[in-house]
């Protein structure tokens, strides 16, 4: 549990913060505004787009880039035997490939992906996904089932789309 006043991590179930002694149950869920309730109660899977791009580690960079380009994907999840093993994003393209694309495009995507990416389970609260993106600097976070099979990717744009769709009054012009 995080202390609302000082941010110290406390043991789950603690009544008071071990560092500053603040009450760890100071906020009642009934006091949350509609946006806070959504972020607190909605699961990350609800903000994930259907039909994610899943490719094989041996697929060529060129084929993955083409699929990302034509189908509006910002990233590809890389899976082997159905299990997530990596993620390949537009930022990987910019950082690792643009300088010598013609010579690198036939290489397998496994050579340029980020291996063993952090992933979230489908029932993770949106607040945790947001926090992970904010603190960890991630823009895309894979969502997996208990067998580590890829279900989709949640990204910052999809999270904004989710909250504007679900709390529309707040974002009216």
């Amino acid at each position: 549990m995080l202390c609302p006043d000082c941010g110290t991590e406390n043991f789950a179930g603690a009544d008071n913060c071990s560092d500053c002694n603040s009450d760890l149950h100071a906020v009642e869920s009934s006091s949350l505004d509609p946006l806070e309730k959504r972020l607190h109660n909605d699961h990350v899977i609800g903000a994930v787009k259907p039909n994610p791009l899943v490719v094989s580690p041996l697929d060529s960079i060129e084929s993955v880039v083409l699929q990302m380009s034509e189908n509006g994907h910002n990233c590809a999840m890389v899976a082997f035997d159905g299990v997530l093993v990596g993620i390949f994003t537009e930022r990987d393209v910019l950082r690792k490939l643009t300088a010598d694309y013609d010579n690198l495009k036939s290489a397998p995507v496994r050579d340029f992906m980020t291996p063993a990416p952090e992933a979230l389970e489908a029932d993770t609260p949106l607040t945790f996904a947001l926090n992970k993106m904010s603190v960890g600097g991630f823009r895309h976070v894979p969502v997996v089932n208990v067998e580590q099979q890829p279900l989709g990717v949640v990204n910052v744009k999809d999270l904004l789309a989710h909250i504007t769709a679900n709390v529309p009054d707040l974002f009216e012009a």
Binding site: V27, L94, L130, V156, D158, I163, F171
Partner: protein, 156 residues
Amino acid sequence: MSLAENLHQDTIRDLGIEPPITVAGEDRISTAIEILRRKSKGCALVCDPVGKLLGIFTERDILTRVLAKGRSQDDSVSEVMTKNADSVRPTDGVRDVIRRMNSGGYRHMPVVDDNDQVIGVVSVRRIVNYLIEHFPMAIYNLPQSPKTGTATREGA
């Protein structure tokens, strides 16, 4: 103050306006890419000599309009940028920017002043950081409501 109340009152200026990466329309694509790569940024604003916005060039454009199309990186940025890019002003509300980013599918929006001079850029990442900064930390400790999980896939 709740997150919604903050969203009602805060403006782009309160968010902090990030200095932009700017390039000229006649700059080569390779030049713009090299700047983005070196600075690890996702977009460059294309400006005329007096600082007026001509367009925006993003890492998505690199993928879709340059690499996937086999386009020469010796071509000029103005040939592959998005012209007439939507922009915001420092006095626009954060929630207005969220709405416009969402409806336009933008990850970055140029910020211009009253004379249409480019003064910065606001990113969807900055918005996420803002939401976290204004989200009461105590909420992390609350149990989730069992019946309010979402089934919607809006925006998908």
